[in-house]
Symmetry: C2
Subunit: 331 residues, 2 copies
Amino acid sequence: MLDQRNGKPHERLAQLLAPEMDAVNALIRDRMASEHAPRIPEVTAYLVEAGGKRLRPLLTLAAAKLCGYDGPYHVHLASTVEFIHTATLLHDDVVDESLMRRGRKTANLLWDNKSSVLVGDYLFARSFQLMTETGNLRVLRILSNAAATIAEGEVLQLTAAQDLSTTEAIYLQVVRGKTAALFSAATQVGGVIADRPEPEVQALFDYGDALGIAFQIVDDLLDYWGGDATGKNIGDDFRERKLTLPLIKAHAKADAEERAFWTRVIEKSDQQEGDLDHALALLNKHGALEETRQEALAWAAKAKAAMQSLPQSELRDLLIDLNDYVVARVS
Amino acid sequence: MLDQRNGKPHERLAQLLAPEMDAVNALIRDRMASEHAPRIPEVTAYLVEAGGKRLRPLLTLAAAKLCGYDGPYHVHLASTVEFIHTATLLHDDVVDESLMRRGRKTANLLWDNKSSVLVGDYLFARSFQLMTETGNLRVLRILSNAAATIAEGEVLQLTAAQDLSTTEAIYLQVVRGKTAALFSAATQVGGVIADRPEPEVQALFDYGDALGIAFQIVDDLLDYWGGDATGKNIGDDFRERKLTLPLIKAHAKADAEERAFWTRVIEKSDQQEGDLDHALALLNKHGALEETRQEALAWAAKAKAAMQSLPQSELRDLLIDLNDYVVARVS
């Protein structure tokens, strides 16, 4: 149940973990510095201080704390996770040729693609330095595996784009790569660094995995559903011809005439006035938006169930509530 | 002394380390695979099998072997070093907007910039997985530090380009980043994995550092000096307005009229017919090419001296000879 007493779950998480997040922010500021190349902290600060929710480092801090960890390295791991996230944002914006992110100009627009590529590389390297400082080899394996899965998911998304034969299984693979891999690594390392028994570590992984998938499905759904409040423009994915879950579902149920429409607008890139409206009508006709919404809710329920297997605590319950918040935008 | 009996030093190194290099090639092929994204091995194979000299992995194998290492992990480390190198090549070609490398079309031209960025990220992540498998935390520190230094050097090069106030000290910093950091890490980890005493590890680092600097200075010199044999077009750096050592030295000795010339062609990007010839005349007039050559020779001598502090062996002497080979192109 969504407890509204003290604000939204991620805000309450941030309140509860404020001292740890201060330490994370200090470490990030320290490590984004560069003695020789001032362009690096310029670009990094622009992104890091853009006012994101810091959901990923909060997940790591919360997981470590609810596991009773009392060492110093959850701060390194949370900073690692945020650096990996920031590096992927920089590279994503180059790959997607994006001009805006979170309502501000992207770094590739303000500086150039070159800076975004190279500063991203620097942050990846910094993230590996940070995780190495923990001295925990299992944590290193988990996070370097996650980094590989993220890049693999991005390449898969690139080659699957504009391809109407993309299946729901491939979509799930892409989503695990681009979003869920870092969520699940973020929560799992919290349990590993606290040296918790394997079932708890697995539950933390399952929680992050399912939460990340729910998060991304909601994001993709809002691209056809959202209003002004979401800060997204309806139809961006349609215009970029991305094969997201709503479109995959509608295409699977399409008759011959509808298939010809999808082939024209997605594979042949021939989009005309009124095509987005027609696409939305087809998504509704086949119940693709509602089915997508149900899948997001099912993943959120799965995340909750995984977390419920851990001992009760205020943090645990907040992490459970976080799922309601993530899917609230489509509830 | 350059021993010509059995070919060039790097060829003799490759002969001597053929079984280990076979293992490296097998590991690289194994790890560049991707279950889900066939684009990844396509792009990687194109680069890895482009017929480079594999100098960096050979350095790691040679260092480990001359230190008497008899475990399995020098193969992982050599593969790590080659993956980091390949990833930086992919990203460099995007940043430099290159069309050709080693006489072939670049990956960003054959596929696209997106694939080059994302496959590069994948190879970075794979390199961190590989080094993590060694379980040696000092090796992880050295290689993640090297990755950060490489990216920092690339950013520094980007911001120093077209800037005539670039000093020789900044140039050296860039060269350490873009080239020497990976050479020195490649040799140093060979000693670390073999658990050699600190003075030997330091000598291996010093060797790689100086060899890498000599290598890059020679490369930059050949951009104004080389002929067809080098496979480089004379004047590429001039046209890209890169501040390399010959230009920095000539600019430092320029009179007012010459400074106006450099400002026009480098900072204002106003290059006309005959400007490259005039630039070459100025480089010769001030002895900038000869001075640059002397610096390359001095760094090569430094590398030899560092290696000479290690116990004599065939591999050690080959690594010493390698310096003659590197500077032979300008001798």
